[in-house]
Symmetry: C2
Subunit: 205 residues, 2 copies
């Protein structure tokens, strides 16, 4: 079990390796990857140590091989399936965003309560009526959900997702959800992030 922060950085390393380096260089040193990822070289070496990846002094790390090793840790046997609940502006934006970027995850379903939205393909992904949530989640074997809906609906949907078998939720609704310990929850409150940036913009880091 790798810690949260390390997982996040590994994900970044892999992305840098795949999109910036794979066709440019075949190997690189910790300080080079460090500079691209804006972390210390020691941090890179520690992180790679936790996934048991070894480079060699003189050669550094093999780009393609390292990317694959990170993948072996981050991805499961098969890619997790993702659903997006709430296809307002934010939901649509995230679906496009994730599709644009080469990702190791697939968004296989989106949901909305608005009948002008469901029954169609939006941003390249089928949108279902929200009352079909349980059915589709089970049918597709979806384990991860992104919540982009109004605060007042978020908790009820989270409960339904959990019952249907979802074990990871990425929550963009500005409300702290309560979920059981079996579900991993990540809150991405936009306002809190912005207030934080504003604070440090003023206080001068």
């Amino acid at each position: 079990m790798i810690s949260e922060k390390i997982v996040e950085r590994l994900s970044l390393y892999r992305w840098l390796l795949e999109t910036r380096l794979e066709n440019e260089v075949s190997n690189l040193f910790s300080y080079q990857l460090a500079s691209m990822a804006c972390v210390s070289p020691a941090q890179i070496r520690r992180d790679l140590m936790t996934i048991g990846y070894s480079g060699s002094p003189g050669k550094g790390y093999l780009v393609a091989d390292l990317a694959k090793s990170i993948g072996k840790e981050l991805d499961g046997a098969k890619p997790s399936k993702v659903a997006v609940v709430g296809m307002g502006n934010l939901g649509r934006a995230l679906v496009s965003f994730i599709s644009d970027r080469r990702s190791h995850l697939q968004i296989v379903a989106t949901f909305d309560t608005d009948s002008t939205k469901y029954g169609r393909v939006i941003c390249g992904c089928r949108c279902y009526a929200q009352n079909e949530l349980e059915k589709i989640i089970k049918l597709e074997g979806i384990t991860v959900a992104i919540l982009t809906l109004p605060s007042d609906a978020a908790q009820a949907v989270a409960d339904r997702l959990e019952k249907a078998g979802v074990t990871g939720i990425l929550n963009y609704a500005p409300v702290p959800l309560k979920v059981s310990k079996k579900v991993y929850l990540e809150n991405r409150d936009v306002t809190a992030a912005l207030e934080k940036v504003a604070y440090f913009a003023r206080e001068g880091d």
Copy 2:
């Protein structure tokens, strides 16, 4: 100077106090706020200690007063002005989101390179041509910027923002920006967040 994590939590506490409690109760105990914010009561007490706020045993904390005290720490003398650069799906979604939620920050300008977008009011906020960036930033005294534009443009815009006087950047472009130490940078990479959730959804927290 308060630490990043504490600032983030304080922002959440204030929001809970203002939107959930202000008209309901006049005082509350650390364990009550803790349960709403999904943190431990000891954490609440520590956090309030760092801003020098005292409650009283038996009464707990005064809701309205505490909210104001947090505000005194988080907000400056006058509210920071915010700009959004890149009014694609994500930019528009964030502008609406932030306007909907009662916020202590004001979005005073948005920018885009697309001439069908600038020159109008989008989501309640004036959209300017991106080549007016420096002019408007200086004119309005904008110190915080949200970046929601394609990766390849992000670094150049970040450089321009910094030169124009911006000291805080909230970056949604999936690329680690390089900025000088004077600028506080927060990266909110959607894909990294999603990969993290997928990892812990699988590994079972």
